[in-house]
């Protein structure tokens, strides 16, 4: 029953979630650091923008992304082609959609650390970048791990944004959640059960793993 189409779907979903997570860690960690350093209206506005996808209906986000990827948009002009209904477009959408789930835990971890460790590092002659790599990142590692897992899991489970900007092109944009929807629509209950059950087990394991990792990391700290 687990056929090639399903395999392709699962692999595509994992590829999308993996790439999204890597990109989010690269973008989200410096962004989270900046957001954690003090206040100011600029930071408040940026933090609000980052958090918007949490409350926004995915269809709204997807709608605006679709417009941004439209034939006459500046983005399309810049890239020379439209990102709509492509893997890259989906990647862009996923990064924006999952941004708060990665940035917020990392930001909280940086904030919980307080300014003292970085001050200590500076008085021990560590250049700010050196201190960031050798003190801030290791101390925030539980938050970074949480962010990575949440970002990955959230991308695996997204539906609305994909529906709006990705459609259902096999191997390109047809991810698990869309496939389940397809199976249900065509009354293929058995296959829908298989994928849905798989997602259920996956989600359960993700949250369990996160709880265990966090407890383990917290156990080693004062």
């Amino acid at each position: 029953m687990f056929d090639e189409t399903m395999m392709q779907t699962v692999l595509l979903t994992l590829r999308l979630a993996g790439a999204t997570t890597v990109l989010l860690l690269l973008i989200g960690t410096p962004l989270a650091w900046w957001l954690s350093q003090g206040g100011g209206i600029l930071r408040d506005v940026a933090a609000t923008l980052v958090s918007l996808p949490i409350v926004l209906p995915p269809t709204v986000l997807g709608f605006y992304l679709l417009i941004a990827m439209g034939p006459h948009s500046p983005l399309t002009a810049l890239l020379g082609r439209s990102l709509a209904f492509s893997f890259e477009g989906l990647l862009l959408g996923s990064v924006i959609y999952s941004l708060p789930f990665v940035v917020n835990p990392i930001r909280n971890a940086f904030q919980a650390m307080g300014p003292r460790p970085m001050e200590v590092a500076a008085t021990l002659r560590a250049h700010p970048l050196d201190a960031f790599a050798t003190v801030a990142l290791p101390l925030a590692s539980p938050g970074i791990l949480t962010g990575a897992i949440l970002g990955f899991a959230h991308t695996v489970g997204e539906f609305g944004v994909v529906l709006m900007i990705g459609g259902a092109i096999p191997g390109q944009t047809k991810v698990i959640s869309i496939t389940i929807f397809d199976y249900v629509e065509t009354l293929d209950w058995a296959r829908a059960h298989l994928l849905a059950g798989g997602m259920l087990a996956f989600s359960f394991l993700v949250i369990l793993a996160m709880t265990l990792i966090e407890r383990r990391l917290a156990g080693g700290r004062p």
Partner: protein, 364 residues
């Protein structure tokens, strides 16, 4: 030589303070909570930048006007109030953090010496979260020293510790004081710590420096509040002459006299610091032939200040000509009038042997 002047506002608090401290020994920044001591120290470290700042350390300009050398390029070390070890590193990792990044040519402060001085060798394999407060602070001090600083800043390093940990760590600080050739700025609001450790005192009040100078002189200055404390005292730096094991007494030379102090204080020729509480010094005109008091030294009266309703704090300079160290005596106002004590007069001070408290021995 450290020359510092900082001014600026932090919310409702205004700082406008400057001082000069010698290029060696311990200089205490002392004052009540909220007087700006820690702010001053953070400005010197470069952790904080106020609107106005001038800082010169050992002839090098660290800050002036728009010039500001960032923290990590200042050859200093900072011991924070609370244990600030990196929890993700081992004890050895913490000790090595600053050591690896030091730009000093050839370590002047050797690893083995620091480990020995602070007694931290047994802690190497212990995870940081399992160390006690006192142990953590000792490792933090070691980490600071191993970064080869030219200036050591300490922000109330004992205040977060309980009594037992304090007593455990003070002897290490005293050894440090004796063995270290770099200047130390030590923030404290505890006079007992200052009396044990400091050579120079910077007295702060409400964001300003009230007075600064050698500790002994500041303690006996009638214009300063230190003399008017409930339990004033004097500190004297002495040199050990010899130890008589039969009676268990050491002979110590202090400026203007010689004293007998209980206990083996150390090798002959070594330095030691003695504290003499004012209430343990009584005054008289007759030579004390028939008394159990061991230390009776001539001294010249410098002056007397009323203390409360019925007492006087008398300032005296040891030695028949008043050439020695200044000590204090707390007597009743009645005695002051009855004896008709007057400044300039030479008198006999009787110092109870038990009054020589907190002897601390310094090598060299």
């Amino acid at each position: 030589m450290i020359e510092a002047r900082f001014s600026g506002r932090l919310g409702r608090f205004a700082l406008d303070a400057g001082f000069r401290a010698p290029g060696q020994g311990v200089t205490a920044l002392f004052g009540p909570s909220g007087c700006g001591k820690t702010t001053m120290l953070r400005c010197i470290a470069g952790l904080m930048r106020l609107q106005g700042g001038e800082l010169r350390v050992n002839g090098e300009l660290w800050q002036s006007g728009r010039r500001f050398r960032p923290v990590h390029r200042r050859p200093l070390a900072y011991v924070f109030q609370e244990a600030s070890l990196f929890p993700h590193l081992s004890v050895a990792g913490n000790l090595g953090y600053g050591r690896r990044r030091s730009r000093a040519r050839g370590p002047a402060i050797a690893f083995d010496e620091v480990v020995e001085l602070l007694g931290i060798a047994p802690l190497f394999d212990r995870p940081v979260p399992q160390l006690s407060g006192g142990e953590r602070q000792r490792v933090a001090i070691g980490r600071a020293l191993l970064s080869q600083p030219e200036l050591l800043l300490m922000d109330e390093p004992l205040s977060a510790l309980d009594r037992i940990s304090k007593d455990e760590i003070l002897p290490y600080l005293e050894r440090l004081h004796a063995g270290l050739s770099i200047p130390v700025l030590y923030v404290s609001h505890d006079m007992a710590e200052v009396e044990r450790l400091a050579d120079t005192l910077v007295l702060m009040e409400a964001g300003r420096v009230r007075a600064a100078g050698p500790l002994a002189g500041m303690l006996a200055d009638p214009a300063l509040p230190l003399l008017h404390r409930p339990e004033p005292g004097a500190v004297l730096d002495g040199r050990i002459r010899c130890y008589g094991p039969h009676y268990g007494l050491s002979e110590v030379d202090v400026p203007g006299g010689r004293m007998l102090v209980p206990g083996a204080l150390g090798e002959a020729g070594g330095r030691c610091r003695l504290r003499i509480a004012a209430r343990d010094v009584s005054l008289g005109r007759l030579p004390p032939d028939d008394t159990s008091i061991l230390n009776a030294l001539p001294a010249r009266i410098l002056g007397g200040e009323p203390a409360g309703d019925n007492q006087m704090t008398v300032r005296l300079a040891l030695g028949a000509a008043g050439e020695g160290a200044v000590i204090l005596s707390r007597i009743s106002r009645l005695s002051w009038d009855r004896l008709q004590l007057t400044p300039g007069e030479t008198i006999i001070t009787r110092i109870k042997a038990v009054a020589l408290v907190d002897p601390l021995t310094l090598p060299r």
